[in-house]
Amino acid sequence: MNRVSARGIGGILLFALLPALVSWGWHWHAGLLPKAGASVERVSVGRLPVGAEVLWVDARPVAAYEEEHIPGALSLNEESWSAQLPAVLDRWQPAMTVIVYCGSESCHASEAVAQRLMRETGWTNVRVLEGGWEAWKNDRSSR
């Protein structure tokens, strides 16, 4: 009886796996899965570098930045890159960790800005904030 039940449960699990694979395959085909190759290291609000000086870079549109931003953050987005970049370069110091954020987990601007910043400056200590501004704000309000 026990052997039969175990085999039966195994069968259910196996059958449950099949639709999951079909679903994954469809999402992959439709391009709905997150793109691989995100090369910038990510950091969560709970694991910010301790003791290191952080240069916050806000990749959201200027209007959102002006409304509210992480204290000390500088605005840098691809709309006005040339005008905003000098302020970031001026502020940066070799010992700093640069953390780029955008609106939330679903935005891609922080990844694009971080990659471009690394490419144009040669900086390696650049990270993307997981969950972006939304995660940072939620973390602060829960304290």
Binding site: M1, A16, P19, G31, E79, L89, Q93, P94
Partner: protein, 220 residues
């Protein structure tokens, strides 16, 4: 018991398949991915996605959501009868972007259980002049050795000039591929004090005037 369990397994399989498989798409797009080439001076690019309602029901488009604030989506109207065609136009404004850009627009309809159509387009924005890296750094007191900026000029560039704003760095332009690729050697006069130097790379473009790229050299 085994028969019963086999029955449950079969039901689980069927239920799983029914919920996992997408419904037959009723909105048929001619293409769901487009490739566009544009010049930086174009300022914006349009991606047009024609579609047709190939189903037997009226479809209402509830949402057309671009992946970026830089992209605006236009829709002629929201409701389409069976057999009716339409277009979704995504207008991507470049801002200061150059190179390959990937953009997505997600179309959501009232189809049950789920009418979701991801559309994507890639735009290659060609700039007449690209410089990489755009900024070079030395630490205070380190050896004042040269660093190299690589400049790639398009065919339309007729003449290239480098203009450091002050005398804090020496610059030397070397052509590595005739009329196309250059190396700009930048060497600080001294690293004893911190400074920022602005270097303007100016290109004369055939027929359209000048374009410039500003680069930076720092002693930190």
């Amino acid at each position: 018991v085994a028969v019963k369990l086999r029955g449950i397994s079969l039901s689980a399989l069927l239920l799983g398949l029914l919920t996992a498989l997408p419904v037959q798409a009723q909105l048929s797009f001619e293409k769901t991915n487009l490739e566009i080439e544009a010049k930086a001076s174009d300022m914006k690019a349009e991606a047009v996605f024609p579609f047709k309602n190939t189903g037997s029901e009226i479809i209402t488009i509830r949402e057309v959501k671009p992946s970026c604030d830089c992209t605006a989506a236009r829709l002629e109207k929201r409701t389409y009868r069976p057999g009716e065609s339409g277009t979704i136009t995504a207008v991507f404004t470049f801002g200061d972007r150059v190179g390959m850009q990937f953009k997505q627009v997600v179309v959501k309809t009232d189809e049950e259980p789920k009418g979701v159509y991801p559309l994507s387009f890639q735009v290659r924005i060609l700039a007449p002049l690209t410089v990489s890296p755009l900024a070079v750094f030395w630490s205070r007191g380190e050896a004042a050795s040269p660093q190299v900026l690589r400049i790639v000029a398009s065919d339309s560039v007729e003449k290239l000039e480098v203009k450091p704003r002050s005398g804090k760095v020496k610059t030397e332009l070397r052509e590595t591929t005739e009329g196309r690729v250059y190396e700009l050697m930048v060497t600080p006069q001294s690293t004893d004090e911190t400074f920022r130097e602005t270097i303007v790379v100016e290109a004369q473009i055939a027929g359209t005037g000048k374009t410039t790229v500003t680069c930076y050299a720092y002693v930190k």
